[in-house]
């Protein structure tokens, strides 16, 4: 028996999920539920999920190639397959996705859910940005680094000293009234248990479950530790490109040229191989870069042992 659709907010989207079983529902919902920041007037799309009955031909990746998923453009929309055999098809005209999953339900299903979300966000004119956001009054800095590059720890260090945040690694940006606007999607942070050695208020994070088999980090609600820190939107004014420095040196800042700032931002978003979409993303990123004062922050190993190490960075916003 097929259940009635259940609605999940997901940033500017409302995803009407219809699942053939509770297990299938949970497999999609667990990724959607991470996006816990409420938006007003979300746009509805429909997603149905069922168990696969026949294997699907793997996608080539002419639209997108990820570590565990490939997506192709089709005459009617998109289709994507994962290494596990999980599969999704998008009908652009109907705004509807169909997912089929093998048994047992594989972990890489989350890649299909993220494809669905990012496709919908981009269609609404939002560009997903893999960056954190930190705020001092009306100043907002986009904090950029690759995965595992220290964004979350830096943000925790700044928040506990009074900064506000849009989140540690998932933002949406769009050009409104000639300038960039950033919106929060997630008010959870991914913190390593070692964080406690610098910021004792987080407690023993190792007692929390790991959210993925591939990382030691734990997912924590920002509000649980720093209730006044979460913000839902801001106008970005700065960019911090976080780099690991040598041990024993202090935090140093170097101003970035426009080209350098643009280069950093380009590496924080995904460009699907679709000419019109890529051009739109490129326009948004370039206009955003134009509005930002960029800085490279060299953060030495062990910097957080010195509680004053972040003062140099904070001084940028005074």
């Amino acid at each position: 028996m097929t259940a009635l659709p259940e609605a999940f907010p997901c940033g500017p989207l409302k995803i009407e999920l219809q699942a053939d079983s509770p297990a299938l529902r949970d497999a999609i919902a667990k990724t959607l539920l991470l996006h816990d920041v409420p938006w007003s007037d979300p746009h509805s799309i429909s997603v149905s999920v069922r168990y696969a009955t026949t294997p699907e031909e793997p996608a080539v990746g002419n639209y997108l190639v990820c570590g565990q998923m490939r997506a192709d453009t089709t005459p009617t929309g998109l289709r994507a397959t994962c290494e596990s055999g999980a599969h999704a098809e998008y009908d652009r005209e109907r705004g509807a996705w169909r997912i089929s999953l093998p048994k047992p339900i594989p972990e890489d299903t989350e890649h299909l859910t993220l494809l669905i979300a990012t496709t919908g966000w981009r269609q609404l004119g939002w560009v997903p940005l893999h960056a954190g956001g930190v705020l001092y009054g009306e100043h907002c800095a986009l904090v950029c680094a690759p995965s595992g590059g220290g964004k979350s720890t830096l943000l925790a260090g700044l928040i506990r000293r009074g900064a506000e945040t849009l989140g540690d690694d998932k933002l949406l940006i769009r050009i409104d009234d000639g300038g960039p606007r950033a919106r929060a999607l997630v008010h959870n942070m991914n913190l390593h248990p070692q964080t406690r050695s610098w910021f004792p208020e987080v407690g023993d994070l190792s007692l929390l479950p790991r959210y993925s088999a591939w990382t030691q980090k734990r997912k924590v609600a920002i509000r649980d530790y720093w209730p006044d820190a979460p913000r839902s939107e801001a106008l970005p004014s700065h960019l911090i490109s976080l780099q690991r420095g040598d041990a024993g040196t202090s935090l140093t800042l170097r101003p970035l040229s426009f080209d350098e700032t643009l280069s950093v931002l380009l590496r924080q978003t995904v460009f699907p191989r679709d000419r019109e979409l890529a051009r739109s993303i490129l326009d948004t990123v370039a206009q955003t870069a134009r509005a930002l004062h960029g800085f490279e922050a060299m953060l030495p190993e062990g910097a957080y042992d010195d509680p004053e190490c972040l003062k140099t960075l904070e001084a940028l916003f005074r």
Partner: protein
């Protein structure tokens, strides 16, 4: 590369462009390399949107005020477009109305050192996938 002065070339469909204050940024969606061009370079690139040749671009550059001494820089610029396959052979030279650069300077194209990721972690995260 430029011995065939009259061969027509056009920008590949996989090359997308955004206009900057003084020039433009080109992103090749196939190679994932991106390139900055200055204002004169952007005017030349626009010639290739409709299809052009080295001879046509050279003559256009003279009209835009290029002295003879700068024509080698035009040839080098077009060589980069061809060598990096930002343009491909096209059937014909197209008609295009392009605003001339505000003042002539030698065209410059800078290929940024590292390309964007070809394989990424997810549809959201462009980082290199973690080894699993």
């Amino acid at each position: 590369m430029s011995s065939d002065l009259d061969t027509a070339f056009a920008l590949r469909p996989d090359v997308v462009i955004t206009v900057l204050e003084e020039g433009a940024l080109l992103l090749d969606l196939e190679s994932k390399y991106f390139y900055s061009v200055n204002s004169t370079g952007w005017s030349i690139v626009q010639r290739f949107e409709a299809g052009s040749s080295l001879r046509a671009v050279t003559e256009q550059s003279r009209d835009w005020g290029a002295p003879d001494g700068d024509l080698e820089s035009v040839r080098l610029f077009v060589d980069v477009l061809r060598k990096d396959r930002l343009v491909e052979a096209s059937g014909a030279i197209g008609e295009s109305q392009i605003a001339p650069p505000s003042s002539w300077i030698r065209p410059v194209i800078e290929k940024h050192k590292d390309p964007l990721q070809r394989v990424m972690t997810s549809a959201f995260d462009p980082s290199v996938p973690l080894a699993e």
